[in-house]
Every structure is written in C-alpha cells, then in structure tokens.
C-alpha cells in the first residue's frame, strides 16, 4: 500500500538515499541530515567515519536532523568517543526531541574506559585448566570422604537413615527401569547369539553358541549394559534432581535444619542403586539367555534342552556372582558420580543442564575404567 512502512528504509523514506553525513570544510563541522534511524545506522557509521577522516572537526551539527533513534545515537556517541583531539567536537543544533535522545547516549560518562579483562595466553589457559582439573579431583575426593563418613555414621546409627527414601529410590531406579533393562537384555542376547551363530556354524560348533552367549552375558554384557542404561536414566535423573535442589537452596535448607545432605540425600541413593543394579542385572541375564535361546532354536540345529544343558555346563556360580559384584560396584559409581555432580551444581537452570550432562559422561567413563579394573582383578583372583 502507498506510504506503508514495510521495513525497508529506502521504500518508506524517499530521502533515504540522500547522504546522512556531510563534511563542511569551511566551518570544520560535520552536518547530519534527515532521519538517523537504527535501520540506517550502518550507513551513518560508514559516512561519519569517512567524514571524520576528511579534516579537522570542531562541531557536529544536528540542525537538519528530522529524527534520531537510539541505535543511530549510539553510533554517534561511539564515534564521538573515538575522536583523539581534545576537546572533542561539540554537538550543535537539533530540535529538542533529537537532543533528548542524544543526551541519553552522550552523557558525562559516555567515554569512560571500561576495564577489559586481560586475555590469557596459551600457558595461562593450560595452567588454569590444570588447576581446575586438580580442583575437580580434590572436590571428588572430598565428596567420597564425606560420603564414606555418612556411610559409617549410617551403619553405626541405622535408625538415623531415611529408609523410606531408600525404598522410594529403589522403586524409581529399579522397578520403574525394569522394562527398558529387560528389553535391552533381550536385544543383547539376540545380537550376541546371531553374531556367534554366524561364525560358529562355519566350524560346526553350534553348541558353543550357548557357551558364548552365557559367559559373555553374565560376566560382561549384562552388568555393563544394565549399568549404561541406569547411568543414562537414573544417573541423569539424580544429578538433575540434586542440582535443582542445590540451586533452589533446598540443600542449604537441609543443612540449616540439622540434616546432613550426605546422609539424607546421597546415602539413600547410593544404597538403592547398589542394591538395585544386581537385581536388574539378574533380569538382564535371564532375558538375554532367553533371547540367545530363541536365536539358537531358530537358526541352529540345537534343541531347547541341549541349549539349556550347554548353558548350565558353561556357567559357574563364580561367573554369575562376578557379574553381580561388578553390577553392585557400578551402581555405587553411578550414584556417587551423579550425586557429586548434582551437589556441585552452580548457576541456575543452565548449571543443572551442565551437571546432568557431566554426570552421564563421567559415569560412562568411570564405568568402563571400573570394568577394566574388574577384568584384571578377576583374572588375578581366578574368577
């Protein structure tokens, strides 16, 4: 429609292409003209700096300015502060509404130098990162120390433990996660059996599928995959929950009520996951073995009885118990790391997000490290 402002300054303002800034050498002044808008601030800045380079400037004349918007006034103030020669050129002319806007930007402190934090070099950055890493390790050790003290206190005075919290945590992280753990266990059993069947059939060693599936599931895959699922599901939930409590001062409130956050928040979660993870691993073991049996029955010339007997012959109690001990340790690691990250949260909602991500990533790393340590220990102990 004619006259409608569609956001394009050249269409809405027929004089927009007119020069906004002109240098007047005879009077050593820069004259501004037309509408100095935020949209035209880029052009204003370019023309203004060009004009400032043309010769000495004693005044900035605003008498032909129709309108001055904040963005354009900011450009004027910025350019005015960059003028080296003192006293700086004087703003002259301009209607009251133009001067009002300008005065907001060119006040007494307009050219005050804000201290810029010094940029750190490579070695300073590396040093700071190293110091931060040591601080994190120290914080983790402090946390483990506090958690150990809380555990000792809980063992000595078990009536002070919030047992209702323990059962609630077991339900949240155990019973509620049963379906996903069972599904993952079934898929792991199916996949392992498929891979084994394809290779072992070439050598006519069909019966060894049961051995391979049984051993790999109970000793390695079921505990580790269950721990990974729980780390993603429960570790993140714990870190987010405690992180939110921390930033909303609920943890401080607990402390001022005389309740130890470690005994009230950390211990129940650790105990719950240490107890729940072996139980979930047993479920993953059983469902995984069923998955393996399904594949063996469907693709190999093995009977159900033969598969079960082969599994029984292959597995010892040590294999199953070793996996469960590992699962319990994994549960402790997940809970400790998640609680530590959660209680170390700072910085509001963004901090909670950081804590949650950090908890999952760190937990996965520590789980793999712990699994490697267990592999060595089990070898030494002959398990």
């Amino acid at each position: 429609m004619p006259g409608e402002d569609n956001g394009d300054p050249r269409r809405s303002d027929p004089r927009a292409e007119r020069r906004l800034v002109r240098y007047d050498a005879s009077e050593a002044r820069i004259r501004f003209a037309g509408a100095l808008t935020t949209v035209s601030a880029g052009r204003l800045r370019a023309e203004l700096y060009r004009a400032l380079g043309e010769g000495p400037v004693r005044a900035l004349d605003l008498s032909e300015v129709d309108r001055l918007e904040g963005g354009a006034a900011a450009v004027l103030a910025d350019a005015w502060c960059t003028v080296d020669t003192l006293p700086r050129p004087e703003f002259i002319g301009g209607e009251a509404h133009v001067r009002d806007v300008l005065d907001l930007f060119v006040g007494p402190d307009a050219c005050a130098v804000r201290p810029v934090p010094p940029r750190r070099g490579f070695f300073e950055e590396a040093g700071a990162a190293t110091a931060e890493m040591f601080a994190n390790v120290r914080a983790l050790l402090d946390f483990i120390g506090e958690a150990t003290l809380a555990t000792v206190a809980a063992v000595r005075r078990p009536w002070t433990v919030a047992w209702s919290q323990v059962s609630r945590q077991m339900e949240r992280h155990g019973a509620d996660g049963l379906a996903i753990v069972a599904t993952i266990g079934l898929l792991i059993g199916l996949i392992t059996a498929f891979q084994a069947a394809v290779q072992l059939r070439k050598f006519g060693a069909d019966t060894l599928v049961a051995t391979l599936v049984g051993l790999s599931l109970t000793r390695e895959l079921a505990p580790l995959m269950t721990a990974i699922v729980v780390a993603g599901r429960s570790g993140a939930a714990i870190a987010a929950e405690l992180g939110t409590m921390k930033v909303s001062e609920e943890v401080d409130a607990l402390t001022t009520l005389g309740l130890c956050p470690f005994r009230y928040l950390v211990f129940p979660r650790c105990l719950a996951l240490v107890m729940v993870l072996p139980l979930l691993t047993i479920v993953a073991d059983i469902i995984g073995l069923i998955g393996g049996a399904l594949v063996a029955l469907g693709t190999l010339e093995v009977s159900l009885r033969g598969y079960v007997l082969a599994t029984r012959d292959a597995l010892t109690l040590n294999d199953v118990l070793g996996g469960l001990i590992k699962a319990a340790a994994f549960g402790g690691i997940i809970a400790l790391v998640a609680c530590e990250r959660g209680l170390a949260t700072t910085g509001g909602a963004e901090g909670v997000g950081r804590a949650t991500t950090g908890a999952v990533v760190k937990t996965l790393f520590y789980l793999v490290v712990a699994d490697a340590v267990f592999a060595v220990l089990f070898d030494i102990w002959g398990i």
Binding site: S248, D252, T256, L257, L259
Partner: protein, 245 residues
C-alpha cells in the same frame, strides 16, 4: 546475641567485604542492607555457618561458631529467599520434618504443632498442598513456618518480601513484626525493600561494595534524615546518586 569481629567474607579467596564489626542484640529486628551484589546474602550465609569466613569471627550467644551447629538440633531458623521448600513433600510434611528429626513427639502431636504453626503464618488449610501449587508469598510464609517450628529464638530471613505484591509484602512484614513483639524473636533480615526497611527494622547496617565495608549503621529513619553521606541518603530516599549530590 550475635557478635561479629573483623570479619572478611567472599567467594574463593576474593574478598567481597572486609573488616566487618557489628553486634545484634537480643530482641532486635536487625537489617542487613545494601545494593544488588553488595554481599548481603553472602554475609547471611556466613552468619548461618554455610560459608567459612576468610578472616575474623562470628559468635552466636550460647552457640559459638555457627559452622559447628550443623548435624545437631538447629539453634536458629532460616528462611531462604524462595522458601527452599522440599518439592516432593507437602507443606505440612515440610514443616513437620524438623520435629520428626529432632523431637520424640508422636504423630498426632506433630500434626497439631504443624497445624498451629501454619495457622500462625496464615496458611491454615494449605498443609496438604505441594510447594509447586503455592504462590511466592505462600512459599515464603511456609519457609518461615518451617524455620519457626522448633521454637528457636533467632531467625534469619533472606529477602522475605522480595518479589511480592505490595499487599503480600506488607502482610509478611506485619507477620515478622508480630513474631518479634509477641514471641520475642530476634530477627536478622537481608533486604533492600525500602517499605519493609521502615516497617520492620529497628537497627541496620548498610553494606557498600565500593569500600567493601559497612557504610552506615543505626536506625533506618535516622540514617535517611541525617546521614551526611550521599550514597546513604540516596539509598534511604530511593533517589539516584545524581539527585542527592
């Protein structure tokens, strides 16, 4: 009741306030005032033992260093800025928690005490509601109820009327005055709400982040009317520094 000597506080090793000296007398409504970022809440966290001072001492009468009271029956109550109620518990459960932890009272008696305390702060009938279902003012009142329930005689409050509408803020201020006069509670209140300052405060200190110290101390109205310092007059008159120069 509280004696602070040569106290330096901060985050990490960076001092925020240095060489603070002041006392809070029994029965006072003592205000800790200051602009945004001046360290009011940090000072409060030191007074309740949540942070360790860089230097100096804090002594609570009959208690000693506030850092060493944690893990025992709390000798003072704290109301945090947002109420800091436990989200998974109802209002009544939040208020009952200190009683369940630190007394041998039976469930019926606890319910009775909780009901009475909620009535005192104007939250009768709200005991079954979760914190998420409450307004900001109700959360703060519930925070006061939880801080009061163990019948301590010292209460710390962090910005009790911040973010409330004028009527709720005035109601909360009246509650604090009542608690101070009727129950004889000593209140230490962090605030920068001018209306609250004049309504509830008997003595105050004004923190100044430029000098990292106490800029003024005394009775708020007196400071407003007689202080020779521009910043103090600007603060107590809600004016810009330029306006009072």
């Amino acid at each position: 009741m509280i004696t602070v000597r040569d106290l330096s506080i901060g985050h990490g090793r960076m001092p925020l306030m240095e060489h603070l000296d002041f006392e809070v007398d029994r029965g006072d409504v003592f205000l800790i005032l200051g602009g945004s970022g001046s360290g009011k809440s940090t000072l409060l966290r030191h007074l309740i033992g949540l942070q360790t001072p860089l230097r100096g001492t804090i002594q609570l009468e009959g208690i000693g260093d506030p850092r060493f009271v944690h893990g025992r029956r709390p000798p003072f109550g704290v109301m945090f800025q947002s109420g800091a109620l436990f989200g998974s518990m109802t209002l009544a459960q939040n208020v009952a928690l200190p009683l369940e932890t630190w007394t041998d009272l039976d469930a019926d008696t606890i319910a009775s005490v909780v009901g009475g305390t909620l009535r005192l702060v104007g939250l009768e009938g709200a005991g079954d509601r979760l914190p998420a279902e409450l307004s900001g003012g109700m959360k703060k009142r519930a925070g006061i109820a939880r801080a009061l329930v163990l019948s301590t005689d010292l209460l710390f409050l962090d910005e009790p009327s911040a973010g409330l509408d004028p009527i709720s803020a005035a109601g909360l201020d009246e509650l604090l005055v009542t608690l101070n006069r009727s129950l004889g509670l000593t209140l230490v209140v962090v605030t920068h709400e001018l209306e609250s300052i004049y309504r509830i405060g008997s003595r105050c200190i004004l923190l100044d982040k430029r000098t990292r110290g106490i800029l003024a101390r005394g009775e708020p109205r007196r400071l407003r009317d007689t202080s020779p310092d521009n910043f103090v007059r600007a603060f107590f008159n809600r004016r810009s520094l330029e306006a009072v120069r």
